[in-house]
């Protein structure tokens, strides 16, 4: 009963605060919305990059193409020879039929490539898995020495470059997110400070009659949560359809791009965005009233 009365007091006071600084509250909600939208974009971007790298990692292979089709016996002999190169973990013979099938599986859902190209243009090949990415070039060179091998391809260098790029992007993104966080926090703090100033006498009286600091603080923290949660909600409401629209387009234009479409992961990201809004608001409310609560 007592606790219920307190909570009712806090919430009523918080709503009074939001209403009292009406326009400024709307501005703050709008800025929280934009900030969290950008934050969400960053999270989605990073998740997708990570996804891409993971996908590429599974293709950490050297592919050795042979000039013409080989017989099963020849295939076994070449497999045996390639396996003896230092650093090679596993060699697998991929017939041209198999390669064509997996290629079509990758693409035909999205594009009708099979009918465009017509017959199978692919040669036989050997997929060579190496132990660590850094020895890829050496192994590739060794593989190329064999007369049976026509052409050697590997994507290690690209992966390494992409990884470096991602690290840079992640760092830059985090700096951006931190700056964004403080800028948004400042706006929220200043918005709620309007309520705090309008209620300076109330706060003075509360202190005078012996309200504890946390009691005085709660309405302002809740006011911050209201602003933060509304901002977060609007942020998600813009973020989700934007992401869905972009991924839909990309999937048609660049079908081989491994985009993150896992519902669960995406929902977790949206949840993180929403909770960030709430925490941002809470912190803003907490800070806004702190100066007035200092005791001598």
């Amino acid at each position: 009963m007592k606790l219920f009365g307190d909570i009712e007091f806090f919430v009523v006071e918080a709503f009074r605060g939001v209403r009292r600084s009406g326009v400024m509250s709307l501005v703050a909600i709008g800025i929280v919305t934009v900030s969290l939208f950008i934050f969400g974009l960053f999270l989605l971007f990073m998740v997708n990059l990570g996804n891409m790298v993971a996908e590429m990692g599974t293709r950490l292979d050297i592919v050795a193409y042979v000039e013409k089709a080989v017989t099963p016996d020849e295939a076994a002999a070449i497999t045996e020879k390639l396996s003896h190169i230092t650093g090679v973990e596993k060699v697998r013979y991929v017939s041209r039929e198999e390669a064509w099938r997996s290629f079509r599986d990758d693409f035909t859902q999205k594009l009708d490539l099979a009918t465009i190209v017509g017959e199978n243009p692919l040669p036989d090949s050997f997929a060579i898995k190496v132990r660590t990415p850094d020895i890829l070039p050496k192994v590739a060179e060794a593989v190329a020495q064999y007369p049976e091998v026509d052409e050697v391809r590997y994507s290690g260098k690209l992966i390494k470059q992409i990884q470096t790029l991602i690290d840079a992007l992640r760092l830059g993104g985090m700096v951006l997110v931190v700056l964004l966080f403080f800028a948004t926090l400042l706006i929220v703090v200043n918005t709620i400070r309007l309520t705090v100033l309008a209620r300076e006498t109330d706060i003075y009286i509360m202190k005078l009659v012996g309200a504890t600091r946390s009691f005085i603080r709660w309405p302002f923290v809740i006011e911050g949560v209201l602003i933060g949660v509304l901002g977060g909600l609007f942020g998600i409401l813009i973020l989700k359809p934007s992401y869905d629209a972009v991924t839909n387009r990309l999937q048609v234009g660049l079908p081989f791009l491994p985009l993150m479409t896992d519902k669960f992961t995406l929902n977790v990201i949206y949840l993180v965005v929403g909770i960030s809004g709430m925490l941002l608001g809470m912190l803003g409310g907490y800070i806004s009233v702190s100066r007035l609560l200092k005791e001598k």
């Binding site: 009365g5 307190d6 009286i205 509360m206 005078l208 009659v209 600091r213 005791e295 001598k296």
Partner: protein
């Protein structure tokens, strides 16, 4: 009840508000603090509920050493002290009832208690009939009654009134002093700072006279001026 020992206080702007002040006030006493503006009356009161801290010396209220209190303990000290201001400090958007109840609400009292104590306090100051009015609809004397009701609603052991009649006409001033006297007779220690000579002279209570931050006189059954 109150023990002020060797208290000195100067403000950052260099003003020396109090200088080596010593006062002892017993339980249920009624004491006038007199002296010209700037003598240190308000500072003295603020020390008691710890809105100001002395630069040196100790302040003890109801066995609590105010000067050594941790910030988080301060609210509990203030619940034992009621404060009445010259400018009332009522909250304009709240009714008389809400203004008084507010003092209980923010200390987390139960709802049934809030109602009972608020009604009792309003009855004591004779403002029950104006319970649903807003402060702007009240006269100065009525506002001061509400302010007093708010100060006593949680049954403090000490009531401080800083020039409570400073904005009131003589008749109303008398009514307010009689009210403070009535509260004193209900076992509350009362400390009143005032400029009101006729009231001090006719009430014949203990008078502490401050001047330039020093105690010039501390006299039982005193008058406004030294005789």
């Amino acid at each position: 009840m109150i023990e002020i020992k060797n208290v000195s206080k100067s403000y950052p702007n260099g003003v020396e508000a109090l200088f080596d002040v010593n006062i002892h006030i017993g339980k249920e006493e009624f004491v006038f603090i007199v002296g010209p503006s700037g003598a240190g009356k308000t500072t003295l009161m603020k020390m008691l509920y710890r809105e100001e801290l002395p630069n040196s010396g100790t302040v003890i209220v109801d066995r609590i050493n105010v000067t050594e209190l941790l910030p988080e303990q301060v609210p509990y000290l203030r619940r034992a002290i009621g404060v009445v201001f010259q400018d009332y400090k009522l909250l304009p958007r709240r009714t008389v009832y809400e203004n008084v109840a507010f003092a209980l609400q923010v200390t987390g009292a139960a709802r049934s208690q809030i109602r009972r104590h608020t009604m009792q306090a309003l009855e004591l100051v004779n403002m029950l009939k104006r319970a649903s009015s807003f402060p702007e609809e009240l006269s100065g004397g009525e506002k001061q009654r509400v302010c007093i009701a708010r100060a006593i609603v949680n049954n403090p052991t000490l009531l401080l009134a800083d020039e409570p009649t400073g904005n009131l006409d003589p008749t109303t001033s008398w009514e307010i002093m009689e009210l403070l006297d009535k509260i004193n007779r209900r076992n509350t220690t009362v400390l009143v700072s005032t400029h009101n000579k006729s009231i001090v002279d006719s009430m014949k209570r203990r008078v502490v006279q401050l001047e330039g931050g020093r105690i010039m006189r501390d006299q039982q059954l005193g008058s406004y001026n030294q005789v």
